[in-house]
């Protein structure tokens, strides 16, 4: 069973398609990293899943049921664009309202639990409007976590967080998927952070899904390369070009792609009279993979 299954989903605004015949599959228990440039349709898709927008066509299934099923939707937690809290009410009151909305019985305990998860237990009495951006994001997460959601939809939750906040968020997301049987759909522009936690990726462009893959698949598809420094960089680059297919110069380093054997490179350079001062095996990360994929699409 998949947590989210979308088939041929379309949504237009004033004749312009924001989501165009999109297909998407999020397996249960996944942390699904949703990637795309600004205006690519990520938030629109998330709003469609949450029932905030009415689709022009297509099908959205959550845990095998239509997305309008009341039993499934009550188990969806979302943080889309902003926390959706009343600014003049306290953090506690905002969480209490959401707990009442969800029909949670042990409300006070549940609020304490989620506040503890987001490390906000000492700030419950603060008015929402007095909270910092990072705190507001965490309150939004806390609201989404109330009542043990089966699906968590988070739109740019790490925006505005400091390094420590990002680490906390990472820990929270890993914890809830591993211990609370929750599936997470998370969109973010901070791909380095996403790469640390995502088990699956969906890359979207102009409202269309251009690639869906698991973290393992991405790992397998990612190009390996060797970075090195030599005393005579220009000469070493030329020498490497004579033997290897893809050699690129990047600032102070030379990159030799699709080669895993550092010994062969070093041997070739020494044989040609070059001195190697630094050498390291690498793999293309999510960010580079994404940029590469996007530029390929652009060219196509």
């Amino acid at each position: 069973m998949n947590a989210i299954e979308i088939r041929n989903l379309s949504k237009s605004f004033r004749g312009m398609y924001a989501v165009d015949n999109l297909n998407m599959t999020v397996p249960v228990g996944a942390i699904y990293g949703f990637i795309g440039e600004n205006g690519s349709g990520k938030s629109t898709i998330e709003k469609l899943i949450c029932g905030h927008l009415v689709p022009d066509g297509g099908e959205i299934k959550l845990f095998g049921k239509d997305y309008s099923d009341a039993g499934v939707r009550v188990r969806v937690g979302a943080l889309i664009e902003s926390a959706g809290c009343f600014p003049n009410s306290s953090v506690w009151a905002n969480l209490m309202m959401q707990a009442l909305n969800l029909g949670i019985e042990n409300r006070a305990e549940e609020i304490q639990r989620v506040l503890k998860i987001v490390r906000m237990e000492d700030n419950a009495k603060l008015r929402f409007k007095s909270c910092s951006l990072g705190m507001k994001q965490r309150i939004g997460i806390a609201m989404a976590l109330l009542g043990n959601p089966a699906l968590l939809i988070l739109d740019e939750p790490i925006n505005g967080l400091d390094t420590d906040g990002m680490r906390i968020m990472r820990e929270i997301l890993v914890d809830i998927t591993q211990n609370y049987n929750c599936t997470v759909l998370i969109s973010s522009h901070i791909l380095g952070e996403l790469e640390k936690i995502a088990t699956h990726y969906g890359i979207i462009r102009q409202g269309r899904m251009i690639q869906e893959l698991s973290a393992a698949e991405m790992d397998a598809r990612s190009r390996v390369f060797v970075t090195l420094k030599a005393k005579d960089m220009a000469g070493a680059e030329q020498t490497l070009r004579n033997k290897f297919n893809t050699v690129k110069r990047e600032e102070d380093y030379i990159r030799v792609y699709d080669v895993n054997d550092t010994e062969a490179i070093v041997e070739h350079l020494i044989k040609n009279g070059h001195i190697v001062s630094e050498i390291k095996k690498n793999k293309v990360g999510l960010e580079e993979y994404y940029i590469e994929l996007m530029s390929k699409k652009e060219e196509a």
Binding site: A30, V72, R73, S82, C85, S89, M97, Q98, L100, N181
Partner: protein
């Protein structure tokens, strides 16, 4: 991923869903100043009306001949000849419209409506909950208006002679009408959503009864106007009886159903946020 089999989705009943929505709405109602401000306003209106009715030397100007006229007119007059026939408990419906517009407007402005619509797949929950909340608030305003009216009546020295049964029917009739009015205002607000300035203006125009008063000026003082919310609200006057209550109940419930069905249809067809 091994926990997949444990996932179970219990179907919440209509009453459980509604209870959740009502709980959050009433929590907000009682924990924010909005309702209390409007309750005070409702209590102050009769005092202001009475002050307007007083002559320079503290005597009644003739606008009212009985203290209970601050609550309702003597007879169901849709065509207004003086302000005394108009200035009564029906004004609660104007202020109720403003209150509901602010309440729903804040739902949208704060973004809290996203939480409500994410967890409530059935959009009728929103319409029904807001209609009931508005009806409750306006019924409470009727009560504070009544208290304010009694105090003002005592202050002006007007006689309190009345048929108690008719007075109770008039007050209950107006309280019952709150449901229909609240549904209308909720309907208007889900059309205009965060633009609650427009909603307030429209609620004000409809709450004042201007369209019905205008129609009455053209077609005369006919009971046919009772089919409208303002018509039935006026009908709940100091000559009211059990039939009046029945008409108010039917009118209020029918309009409440109509506006709730239309509102739900709009919410289902339109993007909500």
């Amino acid at each position: 991923m091994e926990n997949t089999a444990k996932l179970q989705f219990e179907q919440p009943s209509f009453f459980k869903r509604l209870k959740g929505m009502l709980s959050v709405d009433f929590y907000r109602l009682f924990h924010t100043p909005l309702l209390y401000i409007f309750l005070i306003i409702a209590a102050l209106i009769p005092a202001l009306v009475s002050m307007g009715a007083m002559g320079g030397e503290g005597e009644a100007t003739g606008m009212f001949s009985n203290a209970w006229q601050i609550i309702a007119a003597n007879s169901p007059l849709y065509v207004i000849s003086d302000i005394g026939e108009y200035a009564n408990m029906n004004m609660v419906f104007i202020f109720g419209g403003i209150m509901i517009s602010i309440f729903i407007g804040h739902d949208y402005k704060s973004g809290y409506v996203k939480q409500l619509f994410t967890t409530h797949a059935k959009k009728q929950d929103y319409m029904i909950s807001k209609s009931l909340l508005g009806a409750f608030s306006m019924a409470c305003m009727c009560l504070t208006y009544l208290l304010g009216g009694i105090a003002s009546g005592a202050f002006t020295g007007l006689p309190f002679e009345i048929n108690a049964g008719s007075l109770i029917c008039a007050i209950l009739g107006k309280m019952i009408m709150s449901l229909g009015w609240a549904s209308l205002y909720t309907f208007i607000n889900i059309i205009f959503r965060a633009k609650f300035g427009i909603s307030i203006a429209l609620c004000f125009v409809l709450g004042t009864g201007i369209p019905v008063i205008g129609a009455a000026a053209v077609i005369g003082n006919t009971p046919a106007l009772n089919i409208f919310l303002y018509g039935s609200s006026v009908y709940a006057c100091l000559s009211a009886n059990a039939l009046t209550l029945f008409i108010c109940l039917m009118n209020s419930v029918v309009w409440a159903v109509v506006y709730n069905v239309l509102g739900t249809l709009i919410l289902n067809k339109r993007d909500v946020y």
